[in-house]
Each structure stands twice: as C-alpha cells, then as structure tokens.
C-alpha cells in the first residue's frame, strides 16, 4: 500500500468510526485532493463531511479550531506546509494556546495535515521542510511519519487525540509503498520512536524522508566502511521519544541527526542540545547534523538536489564522528 493510500485508509476508517470527524480543505472533494490523499471520500461520505473550502487557509484552520472546541474532530488539509504560514495565527495563537490560556476549560481535538519536502522543482514557496517551526510551539503535537504504516497509524492516533496535531506528510513519500496492517484497530502511539535498523557503532536520527536516506547510507556505511549504524525514526517530535534516542547514544557513543529543514533552530539543533545535556559523558565525538542548505529552495534541478541531504552527506557526517578531533 502506498503512503497516500494508507493516509486515505486512516481517514476513511476514522470517519466510519466516529461521526464527529469531518474533513475540510482546498480541493479535497471534487478534485480528490491535490495529492489524492482524500480520493473517493467525498463520494463515500458526502458534502456534509468532506468539505471543499475556498482558498482561505487562516480561516479554515480557525474554523477547525472553533468546531473542535464545540464538539467536532475536524481534519483540515493544507496543500503544502508553505501555505500553513497563512494559518500560523490560528495554529499558534489559538489551537496551541486556547486550552492553556483558558485554564483547561476546553480541548482542541484538531488535526492539520500538510505535506512538505523538496525535489519536485517547485521553488521557494512550495518545497520547504518546517517541522521545526511547529516543534517550537508548546500546545501542539507534531507527527512526521516516514512509512506507509506509520502514516496510517499515526493519523488514526492524531484524529483520536484530544490535542491539536500538526501532521506533516511528505510529497516524495506519498508514492512510496510499504506493508500496512489491515486491522482497523491498528494505531501508532505518539511518543514512540521506531528503531529502523540496529547497530552498535553510531546512532543516526532521521526525520521524515531523511529516515530513508539514513537507512540507505547505513547500508553503504556497513558495506564499505564497516560501520554499523542504528537508525532511529522519532515518528513524532512532540511528544519526543528522547529516551529511545538516549539509550541508543549510550550504546553507540555517537550521534548524527539528519533532517531536510534549515540548520538554524532546526530539529537537530534542538535534539543535539538535549542529548549533550543528558549524555555528554557517553559521547565519543561531537554530534553531527546534516540539514537542508540554509537557502530558500531554488527551482533549478541541480541546485535543488544539492539543497537537501542525500546519502553522501550522511556518510561523510558519520565518518567524521570516527575521525580524531582536530
């Protein structure tokens, strides 16, 4: 099953399970979704539950917040993470803050789905990776599924959760296949990292698509460098399964963090700080980060390709942790 089909199945199952779940978004109905994640759902559930919206990101998210405060479980689709900036006011000032600022009187069970990622030559307004922006905000949960199974299991958990969830999909991953349990009760819990590969020499944390890039690098590292990598996919950034990462680092004594987003204030910057605070004595080398280039995403194919990480950069970073310090 493809990643997009797994997301579609999650939406369908949760809509069947709970009549208060409804979908809102631009072109999710008649058009079947810009990335076809919602294909067929309008025919199946009708216009009451699958709502095509005007192009009004801030307002459709805000309406989702309001509806979530008063009894529904809305799932709002934004066409790309870049467009979510138009809704940042409602996501940060309202969705994330309302429960806290009103003293716990209400909850906001809202899911805001959005894809990110470079590689399709869409230039600087459609291609970024901004999980770090939402990770920054207390009050939000942030999911970054990599596999089809996680896409389904995490989305089902997100819809059932009573907190606002920023659910970050990946444009490249939509077409990727993977085994997905058929079981309608299958969910993936937030806050549980997946160990994609066991290894004793270095821990590589890969976020979203970068978990796949890291896995490919691990194969080369094993075959050509004799380095056995442990690959960890956090799956959710809030809550973060820091314990699994720390346990791995205490075993391997080395950490490389791979993400597609920008370096300053990135996921890796944050994780490196947390790990060095708690496992400094276990580290045999400085923590390495491999990130997207610190530039707006260019259109040119060769420039775009060097603007986000690939296996060679991951391999270089891992090898660097085995070199003597200057």
């Amino acid at each position: 099953m493809r990643y997009r089909e797994a997301l579609n199945a999650a939406l369908r199952e949760e809509m069947e399970r709970d009549p208060d779940v409804l979908l809102m978004g631009e072109d999710i109905g008649v058009f079947n979704g810009a990335f076809k994640v919602t294909a067929g759902l309008l025919d199946e559930f009708g216009e009451r539950r699958v709502r095509d919206t005007p192009i009004s990101e801030n307002t459709i998210v805000g309406m989702g917040v309001g509806a979530a405060m008063t009894g529904l479980r809305p799932v709002v689709e934004l066409m790309t993470i870049n467009f979510s900036l138009l809704a940042m006011d409602q996501i940060v000032n309202h969705a994330a803050s309302i429960r806290y600022m009103f003293g716990g009187q209400v909850k906001v069970p809202l899911v805001v789905r959005m894809p990110q990622g470079a590689g399709h030559q869409l230039g600087p307004t459609h291609s970024h990776s901004w999980e770090a922006l939402y990770l920054h905000v207390p009050g939000l949960l942030v999911a970054v599924p990599t596999t089809a199974a996680d896409a389904k299991g995490l989305l089902k958990s997100a819809i059932r959760d009573d907190n606002p969830v920023v659910f970050i999909e990946h444009e490249y991953l939509y077409g990727q296949r993977g085994e997905v349990p058929d079981d309608e009760d299958f969910t993936v819990r937030f806050g549980e990292a997946a160990i994609r590969r066991e290894g004793s020499d270095v821990t590589i944390v890969g976020i979203s698509r970068m978990a796949l890039t890291a896995a490919r690098a691990a194969k080369t590292l094993s075959e050509e460098h004799g380095i056995e990598s442990e690959i960890i996919d956090p799956r959710t950034l809030r809550p973060l399964d820091l314990d699994t990462i720390l346990t791995s680092v205490r075993k391997t004594n080395r950490l490389v963090i791979v993400e597609e987003g920008w370096p300053h204030g990135g996921v890796g910057a944050n994780l490196a700080a947390l790990v060095q605070e708690q496992a400094f004595d276990d580290l045999d080398a400085p923590i390495q980060r491999v990130t997207g280039a610190d530039v707006p995403m260019p259109y040119s194919k060769p420039l775009e390709q060097i603007a986000f990480p690939h296996e060679p950069q991951v391999i270089d970073a891992v090898v660097a942790t085995f070199k003597d310090r200057p």
């Binding site: 208060d20 409804l22 009451r48 709502r51 919206t53 005007p54 009004s56 801030n58 307002t59 459709i60 998210v61 805000g62 309406m63 989702g64 917040v65 309001g66 509806a67 979530a68 405060m69 008063t70 009894g71 529904l72 809305p74 006011d89 409602q90 000032n93 309202h94 309302i98 429960r99 806290y100 600022m101 009103f102 003293g103 716990g104 009187q105 209400v106 909850k107 207390p138 009050g139 949960l141 958990s157 059932r160 959760d161 009573d162 907190n163 969910t187 819990r189 937030f190 806050g191 549980e192 959710t236 809030r238 809550p239 973060l240 399964d241 820091l242 314990d243 947390l274 605070e277 708690q278």
Partner: protein
C-alpha cells in the same frame, strides 16, 4: 475628524419592567465593575493591558440579551462586559484580572482572555480579527450536529479590515451557518479613526460582497440593539443566513489604560457622553415610572457593594502555584507518553508535564517574586506600555 454620532432617534420602546430593570442592573454592574478594574489597575493589582468598554454597555447587554442559553458568544480583548452580561461570576472575573487561581481561567488569560464555557461565553481574544473564524467554527459545529444553537461574534471596527473578516463572511455565507457578526463600531481602531482606517465607513455594507447582508443598530440604545440583534439572530437561525450587524457606539475611556487620547477631541467625547447608555436608559426608566429615583440609587449602591465583594474575593484568592506552570498545555491521555514539554529551567532538563513530580529545590524562584512587577513588560504590539498614571479620565 468627522463626527459620527449615532443616530439619535426617539428612544426605543421599553421592554417589560422586569426586563428593563434587569438590563439596567447589568449595564450598571459592567460600568461599576470596569471603573473599579481601572482603579485596581492603577494600584497595580491588575497587570498587563486593561481595555475598558465604558460607554459600550448598551451594545454589550442589548446584544447579549438577544441570545438564548444554548447560543454561543465570542468577543475580543475588551470582554469583561461580555463575560458579566453572559452571567459569569463577578468574583471570578475580578480574580482573573488579579491573575489568581479562582479567576475564570485560573489566572492564565487575564483581562484580554476571559472564558466561561458553562455560560457559553467562548472567550476574549487578543488577536484582532482572530476570533471570527472561531465563531464560524462554533456555528459549523452547531449546524453539523443539528443543534438549535446560534453564535454571536463581537469584534471592533478595526477588525473589519483584517483578512479573516472577508474570509469568514464568505465561508459563513457559503455554508449557510447560523452566526451573527456584530461590529462594535466605537469609531476607532485603537487610535485610528474609522475614516482613516476603512475606505467604506458604512460598516454594515462590508459584508455584502461576501453574501452577508448588513443591519445597523444604535449601540447607545439598549432596546434598539436588542431588537436588531434579535432579528439578525432569527434570520441566522431560521434562514441559515449569516448577518452582519453594525452597532454604532463609543468608548468613553481610552483604548487601554495607556492611552493619552491624542487622536480625539474632548468635545467629541463630551458629545458622546451625553448619550451615556447607563444614564439615558436609567432616566428613561425613571420617567416611565418603572423605577423610582431612590430605587435607582439603591441599585447603584448594591452594585458597588457587589463589586466591593468581588475585589475582596479576588484579593483573597491565592496566586497560582509554581507547580501548576505546565498544567493544561496538553490533554494527557493514556495513549501517549514521551516528552511533550521540555523544562530547561534547571541544569538537567525535565519533562514539563511531570513537574508535579519534580524536586522543588530544582526549580527557579516562584511566581510570587515576579508578581511585584505588576504591569506589562512592554513586549506587546497592540498598544504602548501602560503606566500607572496614564489613566486619568475626566470623570
């Protein structure tokens, strides 16, 4: 500066005596509450920003009384009056201003963020125009669930220039939602006069292009406000047609306590004060024989005593415990574990949501130490930094 005094029509027909007296009492409660809140602000009992609605009571009470218990009300950062009109306990509203645990929001929201779910008062919001989409969301939920509820969304003339205004009008009309949008047109977006911030000054017309018809009421006349809002809500409920109501009113005090009011003349303020809704409506009731002058004075004295009680309650309520800092960021269910919040106030980070289990000695000094600072740190973008002496109103 053009004078835009509300149309001074003949006084609207009075409601039944019991109703009229309740309206007067509620306007009086709001007026005396806010006057006292201003005094408490000057004494640094209240921090942050304080936006008073003095002068706007007829708009608040007239529109709120058009709601039924099951209807939703949502407001702005100028929302003490809406909470009180909806029936929130004055003790708890004052305690929220004081930032205490017995406040409506346990001291988390303050003046700009009142909220009382039980009364279906769905909050005051500090982002201008940010509350409109939420209102449409409440109406969406009511509509989706097939419940006989409507939503009244209050915002100011300044908010009619935000993107969310047009977006929400369009969506509410497109989806036939039972919501009434009420522009409390008090003539100024903070310190910028209506004519200087809106190309269209007949604000009731601003929804038409989005499919939302407009109505106007005299926001200084409680009976007219009640009548028009009732009609608008009826259209919203029965015809599934959202309506925009422009309530023409005026705030007698500054935008916030930090407002030197250099953008308007004393003459303009005085002109509007002649239409003071509390005085005018009270006089009307006396003249109609519904209320004796002595009864009005008694009502006023009782109201002031009620506010005395609220201040005493708020003052006696404790500050929130430092242990509660991380409460209610998340709904912590069974299905999730892991690090939700990270507490980096100590050399070793903690999971914030587990703070109740932390060693007290590890924590920084308690909130009581910060409390003495009282006022705002000047970090907000909405208005200048308040100072204790900025508010010296002429009344």
């Amino acid at each position: 500066m053009t004078e835009r005094v509300a149309p001074s029509t003949d006084p609207s027909e009075l409601p039944e005596p019991d109703v009229a007296i309740e309206w007067l009492r509620t306007m009086m409660l709001i007026r005396r509450f806010e006057e006292r809140a201003g005094e408490m602000y000057a004494k640094a009992k209240v921090g942050g920003f304080l936006h008073l609605a003095i002068g706007e009571e007829a708009t608040i009470v007239g529109s709120t009384r058009a709601l039924r218990d099951q209807d939703y009300l949502i407001s702005t950062y100028r929302s003490h009056g809406h909470a009180l009109a909806r029936g929130s306990d004055p003790d708890r509203v004052m305690a929220e201003l004081f930032g205490r645990v017995d406040g409506l929001c346990r001291g988390r929201g303050g003046s700009m963020h009142m909220f009382d779910l039980e009364k279906r008062f769905m909050g005051g919001y500090g982002i201008v125009g940010g509350n409109l989409p939420l209102a449409a969301g409440f109406a969406l939920a009511s509509d989706y669930l097939g419940l006989d509820e409507a939503t009244l969304c209050q915002f100011g003339d300044g908010a009619s220039n935000q993107g969310t205004f047009g977006e929400t009008m369009n969506l509410a009309a497109l989806w036939s939602l039972p919501v009434v949008f009420m522009i409390t047109n008090n003539q100024f977006g903070m310190g910028t006069a209506l004519e200087r911030h809106s190309a269209v000054t007949d604000l009731l017309r601003k929804g038409e292009g989005f499919g939302v018809p407009g109505m106007r009421c005299d926001g200084m006349d409680i009976a007219d406000t009640y009548k028009v809002t009732t009609e608008a809500l009826k259209i919203a409920r029965e015809e599934r047609q959202p309506v925009l109501v422009e309530a023409v009113t005026y705030r007698f005090r500054g935008h916030s306590m930090a407002d030197p009011e250099e953008y308007r003349t004393k003459e303009q303020v005085d002109e509007w004060r002649k239409r003071d809704p509390l005085a005018v409506f009270g006089d009307q009731l006396v003249q109609a024989g519904i209320l004796g002058e002595d009864e009005r004075e008694t009502m006023d004295r009782e109201t002031v005593e009620r506010i005395d009680q609220a201040v005493a309650f708020a003052d006696a309520s404790p500050h929130p415990s430092p242990n509660d800092l991380y409460d209610d960021i998340y709904v912590l269910g069974d299905q999730v574990r892991g690090w939700y919040s990270v507490d980096e106030r100590t050399p070793t980070p903690h999971r914030g949501e587990d703070e109740h289990g932390m060693d007290r000695a590890d924590l920084p000094q308690s909130a009581e130490h910060a409390e003495a600072s009282g006022g705002d740190d000047g970090g907000g973008a909405a208005a200048p930094t308040p100072t204790d002496d900025a508010q010296r109103d002429e009344d």
